[in-house]
Symmetry: C2
């Protein structure tokens, strides 16, 4: 670091430069530039006369989670993990960054959104973009050919953040995947069952799960006369149908992507179709569709899938929708996406929706990706995979808004009892009792003050929802008892020290 006196001199000189410019009424840019230099010098020196000017913020598109948000997140995660475990899943974890080459070539155009680490000597690394590619790398690396696993972790995309709608640059994914060579559509049906269970349990309002198949899409494009090399780009246009009208989609196909009007119109007829097993049967008979082997394979599987979904009792929410396309390159078979269809119980979101003209949209999605693991295997050995990803950030923002709107307070601690005193000089006794309770497994707090006021101890209980107060006083100590106060009813009873733990457990178990 440069000498302090030197910097102070430089600050003085630079201060004069700024003052001079201001007197001369120089341009704002010029003044700002010199002020910036001045601040930089001041930052170097630190302290009161040139305090460090930190930009007090988180990186763009990221956020801190405060205790209240964490409490909500914990509740959501618990519901989701309980479901994943109910379905016999194990969990794994992978590093937050991968070798850059592991991620390249998996995300198509979106590769530009990958965060690279600086080359500081060593390997070239990038932050993970999703949990699916690291999962495939993990399977290939460890030669695992079958596993049912979940993985909940953060992923990173240098995307345009839209934080009010729960779209961040750092966000959680909750993935459940089944890898292995199995009889068709059984694992796929379980993924949809899981989405159904989780969205029902989270009580986010009504939802619908759209299902389609990449093979049906490809077959449809073929029989409609889309040239082979335009499948992907036409597919990504179809994917916009949830945000754009058919007219606009058609126009993009014809005008921007050079598709014939005839082909576009034929696609238009198909992508308006929705149904269930009946639609799959109908299309298997369809004069055009039935000409595509691929489409027929997809449609046969779709029928099979719906038969399992009936057994799982989830057909009320699942719809076979020919307009569902999904962007990622790696899908090879069934694809699906869950959307919330009513925002009734979430007035704030509804208001935002009206304002921004955008719904909370997709809250889960996934599909079959039978080729991805093979891309990593030195011998190209394939491991068929199917999985689903829960869009947890969107769920969080709905839950947060629900919590805001609700009268009920979110507790951020689980403390059962506050050890308090109305008298002075009882810190040691309070600490002794608190330790007794901790040792007995009771969640207890004590104020870090020698002589706190009883009112402030009770106020803390009100504020943080602590249900009980164990009050110590000279008399109680003499009698070998503790005054146990129930915060909400203000009832007080004397309980002997020996029975205190039981008394607390009894009172908090039925809270």
């Amino acid at each position: 670091m440069a000498d302090k006196a030197q910097i102070q001199d430089a600050i003085k000189t630079q201060g004069e430069v700024v003052r001079k410019l201001k007197t001369e009424k120089a341009s704002k840019e010029q003044i700002d530039e010199e002020v910036a230099k001045l601040l930089e010098l001041k930052a170097q020196i630190g302290g009161d006369e040139g305090k460090h000017q930190f930009t007090l913020k988180t990186a763009k598109g990221t956020r801190d989670y405060n205790p209240k948000q964490m409490a909500i997140r914990e509740k959501v995660f618990n519901t989701i993990i309980r479901c994943f475990k109910r379905h016999g899943a194990e969990t794994i974890d992978t590093p937050v960054f991968e070798l850059k080459e592991t991620l390249t070539g998996k995300y198509g155009e979106d590769s530009k959104l990958i965060y690279d680490l600086k080359d500081q000597g060593g390997e070239l690394l990038s932050l993970r973009y999703d949990l699916t590619v690291p999962f495939a790398r993990y399977l290939a690396m460890n030669k695992i050919t079958n596993i049912k696993r979940y993985h909940i972790a953060k992923v990173y995309r240098r995307d345009n953040p839209a934080m009010t709608r729960g779209r961040y640059r750092e966000f959680y994914q909750c993935d459940f995947d089944i890898a292995g060579q199995y009889d068709p559509m059984i694992p796929d049906a379980e993924c949809l069952k899981i989405v159904h269970e989780i969205l029902s349990e989270l009580e986010l309002g009504d939802f619908r799960i759209k299902v389609n198949d990449r093979r049906i899409l490809d077959g449809m494009f073929a029989v409609c006369g889309v040239p082979d090399d335009k499948f992907r780009t036409i597919c990504s246009t179809v994917d916009k149908l949830d945000k754009m009208s058919w007219e606009d989609v058609r126009s993009e196909m014809v005008k921007e992507k050079g598709l014939s009007e005839e082909a576009a119109d034929q696609i238009g007829q198909y992508v308006s179709m929705q149904g269930g097993m009946d639609l799959a049967e109908l299309l298997l008979q369809d004069a055009k569709m039935s000409q595509s082997k691929q489409a027929c394979a997809g449609l046969t599987d779709m029928k099979q899938l719906f038969s399992y979904l009936q057994l799982f009792q989830v057909t009320d929410k699942v719809v076979f929708d020919l307009s569902l396309a999904r962007g990622l390159d790696y899908y090879t078979g069934v694809i699906y996406e869950a959307i919330l269809t009513q925002t009734g119980p979430v007035p704030v979101v509804a208001a935002q929706k009206a304002e921004e003209g955008v719904s909370v949209g997709s809250v889960a999605g996934g599909g079959r990706y039978d080729g991805l693991v093979g891309m990593f295997d030195p011998k190209g050995r394939k491991v068929p995979c199917v999985g689903v990803s829960i869009g947890i950030e969107r769920v969080f923002s709905i839950m947060e808004q629900k919590a805001e709107a609700s009268a009920e307070k979110v507790r951020t601690t689980e403390t059962q009892v506050m050890v308090a005193s109305a008298q002075k000089n009882l810190l040691e006794e309070r600490l002794r009792l608190t330790a007794e309770l901790w040792n007995a497994g009771i969640k207890a707090e004590v104020m870090y003050k020698k002589n706190p006021k009883l009112l402030s101890q009770l106020q803390h209980c009100e504020d943080s929802g602590i249900p009980l107060v164990a009050i110590l006083g000279e008399q109680e100590l003499k009698d070998g008892v503790v005054k146990l106060r129930t915060v909400h009813s203000r009832e007080e009873v004397d309980v002997s020290r020996a029975e205190l733990v039981e008394a607390i457990k009894k009172r908090t178990s039925d809270v």
Copy 2:
């Protein structure tokens, strides 16, 4: 990339180099080096038909966690979180990266170990190096003046990894901190109580918690005649006393750092001292030590701390140790570090210790950092803080080795029942029953095969520790029952469909 023919030529030449060395019986190191070059060239050109040769690995110093490791990790985390919650802590989360400037100037020399993100246009970002600086940034940014929080998350250091000893470049920290203006030593004592509780509950063997105070260290340096500007560097030499003998430490002080022999010897007398409250009392009377105001303040607080530790019943493990220094710049008062003192129940670690000459070492550490939040606050407002960080990776590696050594199998799923069949064509019935169980909250699995063999269904239960099998057959379906088999005893009973859920719950609750 270089031209393919060129690389093939280079491979040929390099192959000859290797063969020549082998013929010449050159040293292993030399051969290995040239083989490495050969492999690198081969990697450039790709495999059999020119297939993409991915380097199938995780980034240096990082690892995947497999399901077994995750099961152990979950158990450890649960113990730790339970303790944090018992002490009334809330939790927060901060992003994995911070503005680069947020981290600069906090870690002294170790700043070179910070991972920077590539400048891809936008802000300059770095991966977090610990959870303490982001916590301080969070407090200052949100103007929070008191909070008791825990934070469990990964941090990143481009350090030299030593993975057998649980030292990674990506690793978890479990931090518990108390921020706020409180009466002295009460929150500090709670941090030590927490370390005591967690290390006891994890059953890692015996441990000791060393305690010291930066003010006592500084006072000691002053009265021993260390020049002001050498405090930090002499402090970091003292910090090596757990790895180096006093003779070597003394020599570093005198020869490398230019301290007088007399001063070094005086330091040597102090840093050999260990004790409890009595030692603090003794030093308060010490002719030299008592001349330092700073040391006296630290010693008075140390006495106070021990009086609270007595109330918390943890003095059996805590020792006031004048040799404890700790590296980080931001500590201002009490500092502590927990070490495992016996590796008895962990034979593998003991063996490694003998082999590598290094113990598993510190498993927790922390201290008081009253100045850090003020560094972020635009007005320099201070928020006193004290905290502790559990070295969870080291705990993991001990637990993993314990699990290896133990006969007991680690379960990676919680599945209670496998829905099976001995007969063909019962897939639909199996799926139907499985869905019934899922809907009733039972953790159930079913094989994704149309007609799996009963033996392979039972084998899966053995392998993954599933305790029960619900067996369906034609007869059972006709009778409206399920054959419920207990895997370990091979007992089988017929249970009516209506009573199945209860029967499973009853049998798995006492497992």
